[in-house]
Symmetry: C2
Subunit: 344 residues, 2 copies
């Protein structure tokens, strides 16, 4: 069809207007759903409602930007913790290097068992044994040496089930939640039972959370000098903060100095952090991830008849407290459309 | 003079152009001097050069915004510390209330001496005596009760020499420096030998520094429950971090997890923080405030023959290390045009 000159322009303008009308609609749709990996349900609604109530200036529960603090447990809340915490895998992987430096350890338990490679025996190591391995692999070196070792390990180590780097084992819905809160003026913190120095190595890359916003189990360091006079810090086996259970609110006070407005966890180790958060005035959001998806990830509790576990225990008592106090349980199976970013 | 119509317009346009040309010039002048309370000199120049070198994208020493960390000692660096640290004045002022709650203390030293009001005797109290007073006035209460007490005290207490609230005893040139660094993407931290919980009460108001960016001497807390089940944190007399000397870099690692790009202090207690900062690669700025202005503030060292002091000692050894390592000494007397905002 050959249109007269003017009509052709009119049509072109019409198409542009149409495109213009469509483009914002598409953008608006994406903007309207900041949590695309979440299914519609109580959990997603609780998040959206909380953000609206605390950030709209007309809201009676408006929270000034400076007070918008959100704290996240890491293992089992932001990334996979089963069958074993990533940091424990790192420590076990480091044992050969530690023994190479101190050959006498090869004949001493628990190092002997770890070197044997006998998975069943390793899985049976006691907490006391694990403590010895953690002390040997997490202390005694400079903080810079430690960070370099962790970085090197993360670059090649893979999760055994998914054959992916550990930093890709993060939950996509939780990363969307982190971004959504930050876009609404919330300062997001990790508050983890894991080692503070360990998590700080990758927190920025994995979660967009800078090292100074990672609170974790922390040991002391000692300031000293190399022979050339250059100062350095040595990691010491002296526990300053056991950032689990009551240690979480204690760690939040020590490192942040403000009560969070929102707190997210998945196990009994997060109970006190959620209690402390909830005890503040005004709108607060407390959420717990329940691992009830054996197919796509793992299923463990023992709350609600799920299999018992020592790694990330979600007890029935925690479930009961959550129901009583209005904490929102995130059901991994029904609340999350996608779990990992690498899923098709 | 009655101009023809067109000419009148031309003149008006000319005046507007002139005004336009002047207006930006005025703005540019204000913008060009972000440190108006500093005299031109080596100190001011060092600051301006450092910021330029680390923030201009074309600079070989450009520092990514995330790594722009600047740490400031408080007492003697950001506000007056003579004749006695403000926090010690607070603790002495709190003694009557502590004795009211525990009347048996009235007959026990050092409380008896403090209650006597004998300034000479109080000034002679030993470090051990002071420790007892600090423990009695800084621990044993909930963190919320403590913050409320400090806030109440700050609202009425006054510096004895200037008859002003303590939060107005801040150094204007240093507040300009804080603002200038922040305007250039630096995250500003206080790293103080003072109590972390004490400084956090007023850091936002006095310096624009939020509580989570205050690192200080810190004691542990214990999580517990009121009878109604509400949780709270009690301040315990258990030292976690003595944020002085080597404790400053140790505290920076614990609470921030990054090496600062710039560090500011005024006494031997800041030496290790400046050493640690300077030992990093690339452009770094280390500065020390020297109190050499007995007339407008105080004069103490004993560096450079200034009177000796136990409060904020600037030793000759520190002076020598500064000169050797290229740390910049801020001479209060010659570098600061104004010291306090309330000066005429």
């Amino acid at each position: 069809m050959k249109l007269p000159r003017v009509s052709r322009w009119v049509t072109l303008v019409g198409l542009l207007v149409l495109a213009g009308a469509l483009a914002p609609a598409t953008t608006a749709l994406a903007k309207d759903d900041p949590l695309p990996s979440w299914n519609d349900g109580a959990a997603k609604k609780a998040i959206l409602t909380f953000v609206q109530r605390t950030t709209e200036e007309s809201s009676a529960e408006f929270v000034p930007p400076a007070e918008r603090i959100a704290t996240f447990d890491q293992d089992g809340t932001l990334w996979v913790e089963h069958p074993m915490y990533t940091q424990v895998v790192y420590c076990l992987d480091r044992v050969p290097a530690v023994v190479e430096a101190k050959p006498e350890l090869a004949r001493v338990e628990p190092f002997k068992t770890v070197l044997s490679g006998d998975h069943e025996a390793i899985a049976k190591l006691s907490m006391d044994d694990l403590s010895k391995i953690l002390a040997a692999t997490l202390t005694g070196m400079s903080v810079d040496e430690f960070a370099a070792e962790v970085e090197k390990w993360l670059a090649t180590a893979e999760n055994a089930r998914w054959k992916r780097p550990y930093t890709r084992m993060t939950y996509l819905p939780m990363r969307e939640l982190l971004s959504y809160l930050r876009a609404n003026g919330y300062k997001t913190y990790i508050v983890t039972g894991g080692g503070q120095d360990f998590v700080r190595v990758y927190s920025e890359q994995a979660y967009g959370i800078p090292p100074e916003q990672v609170v974790g189990t922390a040991a002391g360091t000692t300031y000293g000098y190399h022979e050339n006079g250059e100062p350095f810090l040595t990691k010491e086996p002296k526990l300053l903060l056991n950032d689990n259970d009551a240690g979480k609110p204690e760690g939040i006070h020590l490192m942040i100095g403000r009560r969070p407005r929102a707190a997210f966890g998945n196990s009994t180790g997060d109970r006190q952090m959620l209690e402390y958060t909830g005890a503040g005035g005004g709108a607060r959001l407390m959420m717990l991830v329940l691992h009830d998806d054996a197919e796509r990830e793992y299923a463990y509790g023992p709350a609600q008849g799920l299999p018992d576990t020592k790694v990330g225990t979600f007890s029935q008592a925690l479930w009961d407290e959550a129901k009583k106090k209005g904490w929102v349980v995130i059901h991994m199976k029904s609340d999350w459309k996608r779990i990992f970013a690498f899923e098709p």
